[in-house]
Symmetry: C2
Subunit: 249 residues, 2 copies
Amino acid sequence: MSDEKAVVLLSGGIDSSTTLVLAKSEGFEPCAISFDYNQRHKIELNFAKRFVKVIGVKEHLIVKFDLRRIGGSSLTSDMEVPKREEVKLDEIPMTYVPARNTIFLSFALAWAEVINASSIFIGANVIDYSGYPDCRPEYLNAFEHMANLATKASVEGKIRFKIIAPLINMKKSEIIKKGVEIGLDYSLTWSCYDPQIFEEEDVTKPNKIRKILKPCKKCDSCLLRAKGFIEAGIKDPLPDYIFYESFDY
Amino acid sequence: MSDEKAVVLLSGGIDSSTTLVLAKSEGFEPCAISFDYNQRHKIELNFAKRFVKVIGVKEHLIVKFDLRRIGGSSLTSDMEVPKREEVKLDEIPMTYVPARNTIFLSFALAWAEVINASSIFIGANVIDYSGYPDCRPEYLNAFEHMANLATKASVEGKIRFKIIAPLINMKKSEIIKKGVEIGLDYSLTWSCYDPQIFEEEDVTKPNKIRKILKPCKKCDSCLLRAKGFIEAGIKDPLPDYIFYESFDY
């Protein structure tokens, strides 16, 4: 592996996890950045934490702020996450979070400048998320242009920042096939926007209660995941029934 | 006043406070956004809170995150704030914070989308801060271009975001004169990067200790403020000796 660090946005889902492993396979030392923005599906951060441990990522920065104070999305407010039988992403969904990728990339840019990383990897994808404005190439190009005017390192000519979105034109099934090909274990990833957490008696230890985590299977993110695995002809290794404490990092 | 809301970045210093009052004088309803980024001079937030109360700003959002986790600046690390006898800002100073305005403007953009504000005001200034890359017009234009590709409201044609920097070509003395002209009381603003806080016995209430706040008078920000008031021919109304508790919001 080269010594060149790259900042990789890591949510804990399929796309960002695949992106991280791709960056690593291209010889970068991936430095993961995740965001605790008080999202409904904060559980994804536990998956991200486990993922970086398993993959052996040396640096993982979790930046915390509260987007519920701003709202405007079913992921950061009390609005309900839409549930459906089939994926429908031709319009911008309720799960769109205002300026989320811009906020995420801004922190990634700050960190990249400090650790001297010119490449910022993001798992943005224009096929599955055609409705999300901040997943399109024209947006990412505009961010890159702005980034190179924004920092000391770039205006002094020490770094030329590149926003790299290796999955931008891939379907979910292609992403999954690519990930499996390079050895990624997708049971380490989480997609559901509306995780169900409940308690049950631990039959192995009477009188002890344990927490169970289940994906809802009806939100857009669950549906896209299921569709991706079906189209890829691969069984999703994520169990339907997860002992919460087993990965409470 | 019109009903049109505008988001105004408010640090609590001279430039952003003047910008807010200018936005108000132009008929906008200013919605202030401030940032607790674990800056060394967090005291500025108390000034910002008091300022919005005095001015009568209805909405004030304070977004909290920790830029010390990222570092790279004497304002967000244990590096010392440079102290001098004279302002010297021909190179990018140690007090430059990586990608700070990009992070600030990203949150402002998210909030602007949610509250349906097309104008985002920032007190950026290219004269005094010629060394700061993210205070230059080319940077602000690039951010504006990116912003209009980034959000649901802009790609659907509902909002065209404008980044407005009314002070961009003004000297500090011109800013101060302008502010005084429109009735701004600069004793409500704070500039020092390295506030000195000490305790002393309260002579009016024996055995009671009170906290005193003083600007350092030697950091670039103090020096620029002093130079601005001298050149404007106006006495700085900020006292040298402030009872901390009197405005502990």
